[in-house]
């Protein structure tokens, strides 16, 4: 199996080629302009890794949550590749991907993706030899996170672009150590999206270029305000 992984759901455009043994190649640019650079990055990655497009067996793509437009650039790119190469799509949550960046952390891993206006997309994991999911993805006020994390006695690591605006709020955690992921681990990595995709492939959780959809959580503005 050779998985081409794509994530353009945050400020980082990232693509990676992974197989069962791990990373073959990865290309990340933390500089927006995703619609301009994403396809050239994929082309460059495959060339440098001397991999033919026909060798790719799956397209892994970040399904969300994240920037609506960014998610769709990734999803549309994944769909176009999946249709032309006649291979399936594996959708991976942005939070799963971030948590995998710090999987070895022995404690609670709390990825937070900035959802603007004081909100974050988040979920909890326990790290270690394996990454264990403790909760579903939700939209929360950043200020609610310390209370949620306090339910566990373990140390906690926060990861994701949400730690930049909300660092001070997130520090208010009692009786345990609070860590923040390093700036290098704190960005989305397509390699993590790709590694998480292997679990889904094993479980048969595959999508096609026809049925794959981004996962936004938030409704479009006019519908959200109507509720």
């Amino acid at each position: 199996m050779k998985v081409l992984a794509i994530d353009s759901s945050s400020n980082t455009a990232t693509v990676a080629l992974v197989d069962e043994n791990g990373l073959i190649g990865e290309f990340s640019i933390n500089h927006l302009r995703h619609s301009i650079i994403l396809m050239p990055m994929i082309d460059e990655l495959l060339k440098m890794a001397e991999t033919k497009k026909e060798e790719i067996t799956h397209i892994a793509v970040c399904k969300g949550p994240g920037s609506f437009t960014g998610l769709r650039i990734g999803a549309a790119t994944a769909k176009g590749l999946a249709q032309s190469l006649n291979i399936p799509i594996v959708g991976v949550s942005s939070l799963d991907g971030l948590a995998f960046n710090v999987r070895e952390f022995r404690g609670i891993i709390c990825p937070i993706v900035d959802a603007l206006r004081g909100y974050v997309y988040t979920s909890l994991y326990r790290g270690g030899a394996e990454l264990i999911s403790l909760s579903d993805v939700t939209l929360k006020k950043a200020g609610e996170l310390p209370d949620i994390v306090n339910k566990y006695s373990d140390d906690v690591v926060y990861i994701g672009d949400g730690i930049i605006p909300y660092k001070d709020v997130l520090k208010n955690v009692s009786s345990k150590e609070v860590f923040f992921a390093s700036p290098i681990n704190n960005i989305s990595r397509a390699s993590s999206i790709g590694m998480m995709a292997f679990e889904k492939i094993a479980k048969g959780e595959l999508s096609t270029y026809i049925d794959f959809k981004p996962y936004y959580i938030r409704k479009p503005a006019p519908l959200e305000n109507a509720n």
Binding site: I37, M39, P40, R72, T77, G80, L223
Partner: protein, 337 residues
């Protein structure tokens, strides 16, 4: 070129997701249009985020259906042509990203197409109409008078300085309580109205000026309506619609004819959603007959946003040597040149 060139065209600039297969720029093998109009109706206009969400959900199926209807597979496609502007940026990015990846995966060329050029190219579909001609493009997003010198060679003679013609139809329809989209509603109700009841001002009617302005007209209609309502008069919506429509048709048709005279070209055509307007068609047929001009109307289905017109424009771009890079971005305010 001895061999046929088969182009897959993809269009997602506004609220239609469309894909089409066109041979040699003219022969339409399929043209699948998924319209979101019923989704946006209740908001009185296109909501960009909702449009983008629908595009990404349906685009795979729309492309598949276009191939199936043409009874071909992706292996038979020579070029992928995609709209990259003008339009709603989030909506454009869906089709553009999809088209780039599709072409890349198949190892075939990809051509970014200007949406306005697409509307002009609707005139080439299923027929033998050829440049040079003068084209009026009027839709919800654009109003242009263009001298089409040759395939892919344009001289813009005039454009709107404020609202597009279709936008004026939508805004006036909303003020009259007719709902969205305004074009077909005003066209319909005007048949029961008196087009000479109100004499709204016409803008830029001086000679040798091919620009439009519809914002003043829209305001005049709304002001008159408020005044009559305040005076407690019985308001006949059909008279308003008919008088407004007559005004727009007077301006569009006289400018198109004037532009053709000015360029000494005896072939004219119209394109874009407003080209479906029945009064505009009727008037232009009459004027063209008086002037001895040849007039061409694209089929109704090619006047709305569709993939076939993009495939056609992409074909003529391609045979003239244009191929786009994988770094092409969406340009929401793209000009014709």
């Amino acid at each position: 070129m001895n061999k046929d060139t088969v182009v897959l065209g993809i269009e997602t600039s506004c609220d239609e997701t469309s894909a089409s297969v066109v041979k040699n720029g003219k022969a339409v093998l399929s043209n699948v249009i998924y319209s979101q109009i019923n989704i946006h109706k209740k908001f009185g206009g296109v909501v960009p985020e909702i449009a983008s969400r629908n595009h990404i959900e349906v685009i795979g199926n729309v492309v598949k259906e276009a191939l199936d209807e043409a009874s071909i597979t992706l292996d038979d496609i020579d070029v992928v042509a995609v709209t990259y502007g003008p339009g709603l940026v989030g909506a454009l990015l869906v089709g553009l990203s999809y088209g780039k990846a599709l072409a890349y995966g198949k190892g075939i060329p990809f051509v970014g197409v200007n949406h306005i050029e697409g509307h002009i190219s609707a005139n080439y579909l299923d027929g033998d109409f050829e440049p040079p001609f003068i084209c009026l493009i009027a839709s919800g997003g654009h109003s242009h008078i263009v001298f089409v010198k040759d395939y892919g060679e344009y001289e813009v003679l005039g454009r709107t300085v404020d609202d597009a013609a279709g936008e004026a139809f939508d805004k006036v329809a909303r003020a009259l309580g007719l709902g969205y989209p305004g074009g077909p509603k005003i066209d319909e109700i005007s048949k029961n109205g008196d087009p000479y009841k109100y004499n709204f001002p016409k803008s830029f009617m001086e000679k040798d000026n091919f620009d439009f302005s519809f914002s003043g007209l829209k305001t005049a209609v709304i002001n008159q309506l408020h005044k009559e309502r305040q005076n407690g008069n019985e308001v006949n919506i059909a008279d308003y619609a008919a008088s407004f429509q007559m005004n727009v048709v007077d301006v569009l048709s006289s400018k198109l004819i004037e532009a053709a005279r000015y360029k000494n070209i005896n072939k004219i055509s119209i394109a874009g959603g407003v080209a479906s307007n029945s009064l505009l068609r009727e008037r232009l047929l009459k004027l063209a007959d008086e002037e001895g001009f040849m007039i061409h109307f694209p089929k109704q289905v090619y006047c709305t946003d569709n993939g076939a017109m993009i495939a056609s424009a992409g074909y003529f771009d391609y045979i003239r040597g244009k191929v786009s890079g994988l770094d092409l971005n969406a340009i929401p305010y793209l000009k014709l040149f």
